[in-house]
């Protein structure tokens, strides 16, 4: 970790300031390339193929025919500049290629050269370029500096979503053997073992037993953590970090307590022990579908009536927006509940019906704020109401805590800033990028820390939790400030009289 020690967090400013351009400031930021075996296990070429140029262009042509988003987004940009100050990585690094439009141009200039008349005839005039080794290298660097958070897309007058372009670029790079190690290794594990961490069934069982014992010690209650229980009402699919990482595991305890208090039978699955779906990050429809299929298989095998997804941002986007398309229809589930359902939707429903109650003062040592996670905020919904994904988690927090303060309005809801670690960038060799990318969120956090003494930032995303645990100390915050919404729920929920 010698390299990590050298990473310096940018100073926190009183007001956000758009940085002066620093060309190539992040040109050195480059994740490890996936080893041959890792790529091949996913059906990608092991290493950069001989004819990478031709195959990349052919792949681009294929994707242009498959995705209207890519087709329209590559044509429609007018370089108006609305997005230039919207990316957290740009705000944190000042590298101009981290401005969304400039990141898109890395692909767009190649698109123009090979797929448009103007680019073929007058490349210099319209900013068209051949796909050279340097361009490919820029792709690898800068599309691994986009967390696919879609903040730029909120502000674009044409709705151009850089995430779609990043995904296309990653899909092209995977198809020529230039995969990213961290993401592709995780994809390999989930196919082989069923979760991103590679935790096999027995290890999972042990962990859950330990958790049950700990809760028993704490509360005197027999709160269950069932695994592979046929006939349970609810299948919970949650990010595998919830099984062992801190603070994630406290949220898992929170889910278990909610089910216990409400008297709903539930189970986890060893076959589908992962809500996360890194297929999204590399833009691969096939990968995403294959991973999602495990959930359908587990639900059918266990005979559950509902599927509930735990606290994980991109998993909720995939579940909410894509599952029905990828692995639906869910006609085998109870039609009275949305399929899939978010754990926050479930908890909020129980709160409203009075089925669970809280001793709020148990959270009185906490002054809480809420970080909207990008994929939940901009790529999904909750509760079937506009803005439900913003309202419901906050209402749960207010039900479980006495002290809650929102961060500045331009940094929450659909305007929220990425934690800096999403999109498959949560790896140590990208630490500098991750620290700097967290800057806008850290500035907003500091404002509520100073104004209200906030000491806890709740979120509903495993990546956010892991990322903030790592980067908070760089900004002189305590790493235990970050935690899950169901951590707060679990700490204050009434479990009934101990017997």
């Amino acid at each position: 970790m010698a390299a990590a020690a050298q990473v310096q967090a940018p100073p926190l400013k009183e007001y956000p300031v758009i940085p002066i351009l620093q060309k190539d400031a992040m040109a050195g930021s480059r994740p490890y390339v996936a080893p041959e075996k890792v790529n091949e296990a996913l059906g990608f070429p092991g290493k950069l193929v001989e004819d990478w140029h031709d195959r990349a262009i052919a792949k681009m042509g294929e994707l242009l025919g498959k995705y209207r988003s890519l087709r329209v987004f590559l044509d429609a940009c007018v370089h108006c500049g609305a997005c230039t100050d919207k990316c957290h990585y740009f705000l944190g690094t000042g590298d101009p290629k981290n401005m969304p439009v400039a990141r898109q141009e890395l692909v767009r200039k190649v698109y123009r050269r090979y797929f448009t008349l103007a680019g073929r005839l007058f490349p210099k005039l319209v900013g068209a370029e051949d796909l050279t080794e340097e361009v490919l290298e820029d792709w690898y660097r800068y599309f691994n500096q986009c967390s696919e958070c879609r903040r730029c897309s909120v502000y674009c007058p044409y709705g151009i979503d850089t995430a779609e372009i990043t995904m296309a670029a990653k899909e092209i790079m995977d198809s020529i053997g230039l995969g990213q190690k961290y993401t592709n290794e995780i994809l390999g594990k989930v196919h082989k073992v069923g979760n991103n961490l590679g935790l096999p069934g027995p290890a999972l069982e042990n962990t859950l037993e330990t958790l049950a014992e700990e809760v028993k010690e704490d509360t005197g209650m027999d709160v269950r953590f069932p695994l592979d229980e046929k006939g349970a009402e609810v299948l919970v699919v949650t990010p595998s970090a919830d099984f062992f990482a801190e603070p994630h595991v406290y949220s898992l305890v929170g889910y278990a307590k909610v089910f216990h208090a409400a008297g709903i039978s539930w189970t986890l699955s060893s076959h589908a022990s992962e809500a996360g779906n890194f297929g999204l990050f590399i833009g691969s429809y096939e990968q995403m579908r294959a991973i999602a299929k495990r959930v359908r298989e587990a639900a059918l095998e266990l005979g559950v009536k509902r599927i509930v997804v735990g606290e994980c941002g991109h998993a909720w986007r995939v579940a909410y927006s894509f599952w029905n398309t990828l692995i639906g229809p869910f006609d085998f589930l109870d039609p009275r509940y949305p399929a899939p359902q978010h754990i926050c939707e479930l908890t909020w429903d129980l709160i409203r019906r009075g089925a669970i109650r809280f001793d709020k003062e148990k959270n009185d040592h906490r002054i809480v704020t809420f970080h909207d996670s990008c994929n939940v905020a901009r790529g999904a919904g909750m509760g079937g109401i506009p803005g439900g994904q913003f309202i419901i988690p906050r209402e749960i927090i207010r039900a479980a805590c006495n002290h809650f303060y929102d961060m500045a309005p331009e940094t929450i809801h659909e305007h929220t800033y990425c934690c800096g670690g999403g999109g498959g960038l949560l790896t140590d060799e990208l630490l500098e990028l991750r620290v700097k990318g967290a800057l806008p969120r850290m500035e907003a956090l500091k404002a509520v820390v100073d104004a209200h003494g906030v000491n806890f930032m709740a979120t509903i995303c495993a990546i956010c939790k892991a990322q903030f645990s790592k980067v908070l100390p760089y900004y002189k915050f305590d790493m235990s400030m970050i935690g899950g919404v169901h951590q707060l729920v679990g700490d204050a929920i009434r479990l009934g009289e101990s017997r």
Binding site: I18, I20, L21, K66, Y67, R68, S69, R71, V72, F73, D75, A76, C77, V78, H79, C80, G81, A82, T84, P96, M99, V101, E105, T116, L117, A118, K124, L125, V126, G127, R150, S153, V154, Y155, C156, P157, Y158, G159, I160, D161, E164, Y285, R289, Y320, S321, F322, N324, T325, P338, A339, P340, A377, R378, G379, G381, P386, G387, Q389, H413, E414
Partner: protein, 236 residues
């Protein structure tokens, strides 16, 4: 000269129609395999229509992004619409009421157009981030629009041309007959540049106009849990 300009306009119109039709068919035929609307996404089709209307008429997203770009960009587009409305008088006899009403506003709009183009262009020099992303063609496009607006206003205030003859020429084109066109240099420049703009429309960033209607992040309702959206290529 009249013959040349008649040919120029027919050619430009043909390129415009064929090129744009090709792009629109291409956009429409390319599948959108996943539901990707950006928040705040309406949950119904009528909600989407309203969102699109706000986006196209008010530039809602741009307003949220950057007030200066919005001010210049929105002013330019509204001014352009008024100017186009005013120019319809060259293509119809008798005039629609709206076209008659728009006549004086169309002139003011010409100035507003020039001013807002100036603002947009200035940003490409003054704001470092926008200077970085500007290509030669971005500048040329602004130059083209400024030249069209300036030559138009020039004819109104400096060197008037015989607008009755121009109208006869345009009405003639609609009947596929070539009437004599006045040969004032300013008019010929104005018309040549307009023809150029029309011709490059389908091969340039002006495709943002049809593109916005096909943008999946804006034209999809947030109904993924209720409706499946399986693309033909993704069927198993």
């Amino acid at each position: 000269m009249s013959l040349l300009f008649a040919a120029l306009f027919y050619a430009a119109a043909a390129v415009f129609v064929a090129g744009l039709a090709r792009k629109i068919v291409q956009y429409a035929r390319t599948p959108a395999p996943l539901v990707i609307p950006t928040t705040p996404a309406p949950r119904t089709r009528s909600g989407v229509a309203l969102r699109m209307l706000r986006e196209v008429a008010l530039f809602e997203s741009l307003f949220r992004a950057n007030k200066w770009i919005w001010l210049f960009g929105w002013t330019f587009h509204v001014a352009l619409a008024l100017v186009l409305l005013r120019h319809l008088r060259y293509f119809q006899e008798p005039l629609w009421e709206a076209v008659a009403l728009a006549q004086p506003f169309g002139v003011y709009a010409g100035f507003a157009m020039l001013a807002s183009l100036g603002g947009l262009w200035a940003r490409r020099f003054v704001v470092e981030r926008i200077r970085y992303i500007s290509t030669i063609s971005d500048h040329l496009m602004l130059a083209l629009l400024v030249a069209i607006a300036a030559s138009g206003l020039g004819m109104k205030y400096v060197a008037p041309t015989d607008v009755v003859a121009v109208k006869a020429f345009m009405l003639g084109l609609l009947r596929f007959e070539v009437e004599p066109l006045p040969s004032d240099p300013l008019l010929l420049v104005h018309l040549a540049l307009v023809a150029l703009l029309i011709a490059i429309f389908p091969a340039s960033k002006l495709l943002h106009a049809p593109g916005v209607f096909f943008s999946p992040t804006r034209n999809q309702p947030d109904d993924a849990r209720e409706r499946r959206h399986v693309a033909a290529w993704a069927k198993e």
